[in-house]
């Protein structure tokens, strides 16, 4: 029966979850994320505090999970890290400007379109969805930036993370980054 098959899919497969990583691996992930986010936050504090601009957006925290916590993942590679954020920010800002009067619609179209665009360009990067959503939900500061949002937090932020990831993730013997560039 179709319904039965449909429902049985929800049970999942039995032993799907990947094993827990070793303790040293946890420490490497912690240190990498610490340095990555520290760099972004420090630059933001040093150069953008008190201005109308920002470098730190929440979705960079999500990127740090991938770039430092799942280094080998295709989702964490430079093409995806930078491409995903830039394209999603473009989509987000555009949705805010065109559909901002209907916030629920602007938000949903932004995230859905960002995913579609990332798929089509092979730049799928989950934090990109957050970037698109942030561009719409924003703060007034984010909204006021307009397309500068694409350039500043959404391009420069991931680039800072990328730089730290390149320097840091190649230090441990068991890590290498990236798997591919483009």
């Amino acid at each position: 029966m179709r319904l039965k098959g449909y429902l049985s899919k929800m049970r999942g497969s039995v032993h799907g979850s990947p094993p827990r990583v070793s303790l040293p691996e946890v420490l490497w992930s912690w240190s990498g994320a610490f340095l990555g986010i520290a760099a972004v936050a420090w630059l933001n504090q040093r150069f953008f505090a008190g201005t109308d601009l920002t470098l730190a957006i929440g979705s960079l925290g999500a990127s740090a999970v991938l770039v430092f916590g799942a280094v080998r993942s295709p989702l964490a590679q430079p093409r995806n890290l930078v491409g995903g954020h830039v394209l999603s920010a473009l989509v987000g800002v555009t949705c805010w400007q065109w559909l901002g009067g209907e916030p629920w619609l602007a938000q949903s179209v932004a995230v859905a379109t960002a995913i579609a665009l990332m798929h089509l360009t092979r730049t799928l990067h989950p934090p990109g969805g957050a970037t698109a959503l942030i561009a719409v939900i924003g703060s007034d500061q984010v909204h006021a930036m307009g397309y500068l949002f694409v350039l500043l937090p959404a391009t420069l932020g991931p680039l800072v993370l990328l730089a730290v990831a390149l320097l840091f993730n190649n230090l441990p013997a068991a890590r290498r980054y990236p798997e591919f560039w483009l």
Binding site: S13, H15, G16, P18, G69, A70, V71, R72, L75
Partner: protein, 209 residues
């Protein structure tokens, strides 16, 4: 009749798995544990990738194996009206243990195997026949000698097309007990005969074509 035309196209035919070890979740998880760092993949995905990659690797390794390249072209088939007494020397001359039986247009009607011949002579195996010959020299009844090949042959015949690859050939050999496989041209006529021995040699990794 070609029973195996579909074998090459069915991606899930059981013969595909002949050389592939079934990986359990535990195997995959254990392997993932040995690789430092978080692997962003489920066991299900891994198994699916492994399964498909294995197929591609086999296809690549054995891409040189086709029925047309391996078959013996010079085979002289039998016709159904030939009496057994004439068919047997034909086996011996050609050094084969089965011969295709064809009609006037070289379309296969069946295959006459050594087993068919022995059954016609009233024995299941060569040794059974030997035992009877040793016990009683007159055990082979001469009236059998005149029976036509058409009465004794195995039919319908399992055959393969010229372009049949490893997978189709494995399926074909698995589906009938004969030692040789008639190979048919696109028009359905007999193009040659592929002995199982030749096929197995070609599959040997060190003797790949």
């Amino acid at each position: 009749m070609n029973l195996n035309a579909c074998a090459a196209e069915d991606p899930l035919s059981p013969e595909d798995d002949l050389a592939e070890i079934e990986l359990t979740d535990a195997d995959i998880l254990e392997a993932m544990r040995e690789i430092p760092g978080y692997l962003d993949i489920t066991t299900m995905d891994f198994r699916a990738v492994y399964h498909l990659a294995h197929r591609h690797a086999l296809d690549r390794l054995f891409s040189g194996i086709t029925a047309g390249r391996l078959m013996r072209r010079e085979v002289r088939p039998l016709t159904p009206d030939i009496p057994l007494a004439e068919a047997i020397p034909s086996f011996v001359r050609q050094g084969l243990k089965s011969l295709p039986v064809v009609d006037g247009q070289r379309r296969p009607l069946g295959i006459l195997t050594e087993t068919d011949v022995l059954r016609g002579l009233g024995a299941d195996t060569f040794l059974a026949l030997m035992a009877r010959v040793i016990a009683d020299e007159k055990c082979i009844k001469s009236e059998q000698h005149h029976r036509p090949v058409g009465e004794l042959m195995t039919a319908p015949v399992v055959s393969v097309p010229l372009n049949a690859g490893l997978r189709a050939l494995l399926a074909a050999f698995a589906s009938h007990p004969g030692r040789a496989m008639p190979v048919l041209a696109a028009d359905g006529r007999l193009a040659g005969l592929l002995p199982r021995k030749v096929f197995l040699n070609a599959c040997h990794p060190d003797r790949r074509p």
